[in-house]
């Protein structure tokens, strides 16, 4: 029941908003739909906590501790993003950057995107997961090009083609997985694609085929995660689209993609009984961290800067999952949560800052604090949080990852530390003058939505100081599940 509401609400919402998305009440309707989705996600979480894993629709969907927390996170961030997008899109319309058709497209596709991500997270069927991931890309391509500027068209084209080719590799990987599973589970009733069934027989799957499958799956879904060197689409798509979309792309889509990679890794590792998947994840992860840290220095556009920071954090998460083991997985899950919350909060603040200054170029945004202390402090605190300053949650997860790395992969620790330091200097040096000093900003016709910013930051702060016991249990369960215990 809760589960049905979770998927039906956004899909129905997308249909409704496709017709009424340009009306005055459309932003509120968008929020209302997200509220329903979030309520369903909460109800589902309560049920999973009390009853354990559940399956639905003839085992095509399943909820376990790993994906239920991502479902809640996705619903929560998408709700807050819809709150933020309410004044943001109003201002964009008044500035004449968006007309009524574009507003309809925006609201409808926003809900469709959320629906696609929720399906990708909850499905038990590896084929359906692929279909949903592709749907998530397709629903956002036209949002990246919403402003129809030359650079947004370029970003959209890159996004479409690179992710399309990437996801085609993932399809090939899925086919190989099916080929390997079919001989064990049989072709009837699709059980050969169901993750729970595959997980049960992973020891019998043919290692040679599965290792090949994993290479394709990692490259395919890795493109969507934004792992270097497959990350080229990511900064463009984040920088050129409307800011609410950047927030959900960075905060949610990347998480969903890494979720897909981890699901595949669990299967393949169980079959191979070697650490090839782990090493590949660690390699891609480290490369992303280092590359992103240095590319951060060359950015002038604030949203591109944040996009590279996302690549860096995805690298850290991939590295942590690559190390494996209960502690590293716990840290990676925590990092997924706090990154998602913090990064979307920064995007919210940046969205309003860019509207106030009329530009996304960092050199032209100055002295946010004078005109709007809340936007300024939101940006400053968010930046400190994402850079891993205590007492925020990112510090806790990065600390855990680094200490685990010292024990398990000591060679990687200096590389990680250096990259984190480089990133710190690059981002802090840029953001500091944006917040303090003389201002160039102007007032906005609608008051900015700052509740989401501070709600996210407060949660991140809480996760840094204290993780509630049920949340910790939940992470631990998921971490053990991923470690294959």
């Amino acid at each position: 029941m809760e589960f049905l509401a979770l998927l039906v609400a956004p899909i129905l919402g997308a249909v409704i908003l496709a017709f009424f998305g340009a009306r005055r009440f459309a932003p509120e309707a968008n929020v209302a739909i997200s509220v329903v989705t979030f309520a369903a996600a909460c109800a589902l979480t309560v049920r999973v906590i009390s009853e354990g894993s559940i399956t639905a629709a003839n085992e095509q969907f399943f909820i376990d501790p790993f994906n239920v927390f991502l479902v809640t996170l996705t619903a929560f961030v998408s709700l807050n993003t819809s709150l933020f997008s309410r004044p943001y899109m109003r201002i964009e319309r008044e500035h004449g950057r968006v007309n009524s058709a574009q507003s309809r497209l925006y609201h409808s596709m926003y809900q469709l995107f959320i629906a696609a991500m929720l399906i990708a997270l909850t499905t038990n069927n590896m084929g359906l997961m692929w279909v949903a991931m592709e749907a998530a890309t397709l629903s956002t391509v036209l949002l990246v090009t919403l402003y129809r500027t030359p650079s947004s068209l370029e970003a959209g084209w890159k996004y479409f083609i690179l992710c399309g080719v990437g996801i085609a590799q993932a399809l090939f990987g899925t086919i190989l997985l099916y080929v390997a599973a079919e001989s064990v589970l049989g072709a009837e009733g699709m059980s050969a694609l169901l993750w729970t069934h595959l997980n049960g027989v992973k020891g019998q799957l043919e290692p040679a085929v599965l290792s090949l499958a994993f290479v394709f799956l990692l490259v395919g879904y890795g493109t969507k995660v934004g792992l270097a060197p497959l990350h080229n689409w990511l900064p463009d798509a984040h920088a050129e689209g409307p800011t609410p979309i950047s927030a959900v792309l960075s905060g949610l889509l990347l998480n969903v993609a890494i979720y897909a990679v981890v699901r595949c890794k669990v299967l393949v590792e169980g079959s191979l009984k070697s650490d090839l998947p782990s090493q590949m994840l660690m390699g891609f992860g480290l490369l992303s961290v280092v590359l992103a840290a240095f590319f951060l220095w060359r950015q002038r556009d604030i949203k591109r800067l944040l996009a590279y920071s996302s690549i860096e954090h995805m690298g850290i998460i991939a590295f942590a999952f690559g190390m494996g083991g209960a502690v590293a997985n716990f840290a990676a899950l925590l990092h997924m949560t706090v990154h998602s919350l913090t990064k979307s909060a920064i995007f919210f603040a940046v969205g309003h800052a860019a509207q106030k200054s009329g530009t996304q170029i960092m050199d032209d945004i100055r002295g946010l604090l004078t005109l709007s202390p809340t936007v300024g402090w939101g940006l400053m605190l968010g930046t400190l949080a994402i850079l891993g300053m205590p007492p925020f949650g990112v510090f806790a997860s990065e600390f855990l990852i680094l200490t685990t790395a010292m024990q398990q992969q000591p060679w990687a620790t200096p590389i990680l530390l250096m990259a984190l330091g480089v990133a710190f200097a690059a981002i802090f040096g840029r953001v500091q003058p944006m917040v303090f000093g003389e201002t160039t900003a102007k007032r906005l016709p609608h008051p900015p939505a700052l509740l989401p910013v501070f709600a996210h930051l407060a949660l991140v702060l809480m996760l840094g100081l204290y993780i509630p016991s049920y949340l910790a249990d939940w992470y631990r369960l998921a971490a053990r599940l991923i470690a294959g215990q």
Binding site: G127, L128, L138, L142, T149, S151, F172, Y178, A187
Partner: protein
């Protein structure tokens, strides 16, 4: 089945024709011809699926064959033709690599693909497993086509040819994916075509051309 060896030979002939078409696409600069080649590829894929359906008697393969023939051999090429006419893009710009080098690279790719497909072919228990190498080659050749082309339209043709290769791979390795997945993939590809159509008009409205050289502004120096 008494005529099984003829079946098999016919299937292998289809597979080699698919590969041949991929090479033809790689060397072709006329976009209209590329779309024709793509339609032929779709047709062959559909016929191969039909043959397999008759051979194995699996019902879902009939549906899959009908879907492939109607979508990949007729509908999509038709849409692409209309787009080409309305947008007036008939020729691709000079390829990034000259044809000879591209063809040589293509040859290497085929050898590599057969190496890559070796473990899968050994493991798969279908009669058509020898064709898996060809499927991989079609995918990678389509990839090469996409890399070496400058026009948006030819990249899309390459992309669809890649999809053809993937379907052929699924078919020869395991007689196709479960029906619902094939339907899902087909739906995604259809929506992708729709998005592309919209996208092309946006690009043209903005640049008066579909040449991707206009889309190279977002560099890191920016």
């Amino acid at each position: 089945m008494s005529n099984s060896s003829i079946d098999l030979q016919l299937l292998n002939a289809f597979a080699s024709l698919l590969l041949l078409l991929s090479f033809a696409m790689l060397s072709q600069r006329r976009i209209v011809t590329m779309v024709k080649l793509l339609a032929m590829q779709g047709m062959l894929l559909g016929l191969a699926t039909l043959l397999l359906a008759v051979r194995t008697g699996q019902n879902h393969l009939y549906i899959s064959a009908a879907l492939t023939l109607s979508l990949k051999a007729l509908f999509m090429p038709w849409v692409l033709h209309r787009l080409i006419k309305r947008l007036g893009v008939y020729w691709d710009s000079e390829p990034l690599l000259n044809i000879t080098v591209t063809m040589l690279a293509g040859l290497l790719i085929v050898i590599f693909s057969f190496g890559l497909a070796q473990p899968i072919a050994e493991f798969a228990n279908t009669a058509t497993r020898s064709a898996i190498g060809i499927a991989v080659a079609v995918v990678l050749l389509a990839f090469l086509t996409m890399i070496t082309r400058g026009k948006a339209m030819s990249q899309v043709v390459g992309f669809l040819s890649m999809e053809n290769g993937l379907f052929f791979g699924a078919m020869s390795a395991s007689y196709g994916m479960p029906m619902i997945i094939e339907l899902g993939v087909a739906l995604d590809v259809l929506v992708a075509m729709l998005v592309l159509g919209v996208f092309f008009f946006q690009i043209r409205e903005q640049f008066d051309s579909l040449d991707l050289h206009h889309l190279e502004k977002l560099r890191e120096e920016k």
